[in-house]
Symmetry: C2
Subunit: 382 residues, 2 copies
């Protein structure tokens, strides 16, 4: 089966492209490499030294004999996207190709507008390309658990059955996104759902939690295939950042009280979840939503886990509570369902000391690349 991985040069996209290629899918990558440019503009860099995409793909071919096509361009440019669809004729499209950082979207008005226009127009273009060029193609779109916010009731997978005044209906789960980036993901969900209802497209929205880890079977094959690992205040995410902070004896940066609970998953589960979604496509006209995480942790719990794992490596790590740059509840109810991917066969890699060890060791290995100035958050929500 032919799978187009949009955003295939990014953290989740790169790992997914290689994984799918390794599992026998015919994979092509679409990317405009804008994320590398954003890093440069912000003066930040991945902990791990990632190779140029062309070199990555050459190495992958040399190691495996599997060719991954590369289409360099911007999906908000429809003529490029159309040409790519005509050339590759995808049967599945995995869409990671968005601005994916909440803090980035909150830098200022320009970054908020960039995030929403980029994400909404890119996804609209993909929907039109599928409708006009390959209407049977399955869209697997990366959403985020952050679309739901932190409601005081259980979070279901995309829809909720509501009884109200003696009547009943199953409706899209209410959204309370926590940044202009998270809003953009809700905006996408609305468009994709509409396209499925009206045009009969088939789509799966993967509302992903916070991804951690850096190694997958494929990216670990050679240093030239190494994945990016972000630790800066804009693109770094909780667990990855804590491990890198630990490696240089920087206090773990817990924002506020640290009671914020979120869904987490290992990047090895990200790639597997996408594979499961592709292998079990949505029916025509259906907009499926899967909550893609394996465990729930509060930020404080994560910090404590990293602290303990660091101690076993004889590293001394402090935890510090910093003023929260975000506007969010720091103590709240959070119970989200995640059975749909398990039902399809996902066998989670649970967070363990072993993983923390490997992440910590990675962080130590590349610790000379760490820029301490990039660790503290500079973007505030208000």
């Amino acid at each position: 089966m032919k799978v187009l991985v949009v955003g295939g040069d990014g953290y989740c996209g790169w790992a997914t492209a290689l994984h799918l290629a390794n599992r026998g899918y015919e994979v092509a990558i679409v990317d405009n490499l804008i994320r590398r440019n954003w890093d440069q503009l912000l003066g930040v860099d991945t902990l791990t030294p990632i190779a140029p995409i062309q070199k990555r793909l050459d190495k992958w071919f040399a190691l495996t004999g599997k060719k991954i096509e590369l289409y360099l361009g911007d999906i908000t440019d429809y003529s490029f996207l159309e040409k790519t669809f005509r050339a590759f004729e995808p049967q599945s499209v995995v869409h990671f190709g968005e601005q994916r950082s909440a803090p980035y979207s909150m830098i200022d008005r320009e970054h908020a507008v960039l995030t929403q226009v980029n994400n909404v127009v890119g996804t609209l273009n993909i929907l039109y390309a599928i409708k006009d060029l390959c209407p049977d193609c399955h869209l697997v779109k990366l959403g985020t658990m952050g679309e739901y916010g932190t409601p005081n009731i259980d979070i279901e997978e995309g829809y909720i059955t509501i009884e109200h005044n003696g009547r009943k209906d199953t409706l899209p789960y209410p959204k309370q996104p926590g940044s202009f980036y998270h809003v953009s993901k809700c905006q996408d969900s609305l468009n994709i759902h509409f396209a499925c209802r009206v045009w009969g497209l088939r789509a799966t929205d993967l509302n992903q939690g916070v991804v951690y880890g850096v190694l997958t079977e494929e990216t670990g094959m050679d240093e030239m295939l190494i994945n990016r690992l972000d630790y800066d205040g804009v693109f770094g995410t909780a667990l990855n950042r804590f491990c890198i902070q630990a490696a240089i004896a920087h206090p773990l940066t817990v924002y506020g009280k640290g009671g914020q609970t979120r869904g987490f998953l290992d990047i090895r589960d990200t790639v597997r979840c996408v594979e499961l979604a592709i292998a079990n496509p949505a029916e025509a006209g259906k907009f499926r939503v899967f909550n893609q995480f394996t465990e729930l942790f509060s930020v404080s719990e994560l910090a404590n886990l990293v602290q303990k794992a660091a101690q076993t490596l004889e590293m001394k790590v402090e935890i510090a509570n910093y003023p929260n740059p975000r506007v969010e509840l720091e103590e709240h109810y959070f119970n989200a369902k995640n059975t749909k991917l398990l039902d399809l066969g996902l066998e989670p890699h649970l967070l363990s000391n072993a993983l923390l060890d490997s992440l910590l060791n990675f962080a130590i290995k590349y610790s000379d690349r760490i820029d301490r100035d990039q660790i503290m958050p500079k973007v505030k929500w208000k």
Copy 2:
């Protein structure tokens, strides 16, 4: 109080700007006149001969001595918007300045993208302008009842209290928009709600039904103040279109079975609702939602009402069912609440033969301007 009416050259915006000026508010209009350009590009025109905005405002001043400032420009251009805010220093912003036609948004990919980028970026810019320049300013934003779709449970005003697995929360009402235009309104609602939660802005979302009628106290003062009245397949809405069709003995164009039920209101209530929202602003940090309609009708019921009213004027009118260009349920449950504006003092102008008479007479008066080629819908949802 100083009120900035964005989109003040449009159907609802023009009537509202004059009404507020008449009630003693200091009003300024922002408009880029793009709607007049869209008419030209589509080859359609309002039934009524509307004057240039400058002439309209000169006449208004001559008649009333009340000066309405005019700021010509595009709110997606932030430097223009910022200059306007600094010059006028609004205390309320009434935001009608969006692409407001569902069929227009469904013409093709370009029009879908234009609609969403125009609407989302314009509203984001207004939110940033309020936050940065006048954080106490009350945003009154025009939404649409079409955000809700046609759920099988009662439609509440913006929020619904859900009991689920023994817990309870009041959450944003689930949205099922029926076109890329309707999606854009949901996208706006997400951004405005977020800005209220995070920045403490105050906003009221007026989820308006289908507006009918052409005369208000102010626009009826002089033919130079006449409001637009659209009857074409792109910008025309149900009741207005039927009256104009009746005037030229064109069969009333009921799409599909005509069982589609929607909320309706007289344009004299639109202007009054906005006035009530402004006079009773939302608290800081609050995102209020009012459902702005006064009566529910199915499309068939409307057609029958127009047919009967036409008979009293000795006009013979047929009703015809045409293939529905939209994808929508033609028979469905629909029960929407609309008590919040009534509680603030709205006294509805209910649909009556008298109104139908006045609309029909208007249509007859200008019937030589009707282009029969523009009546049938040309834009299809799929």
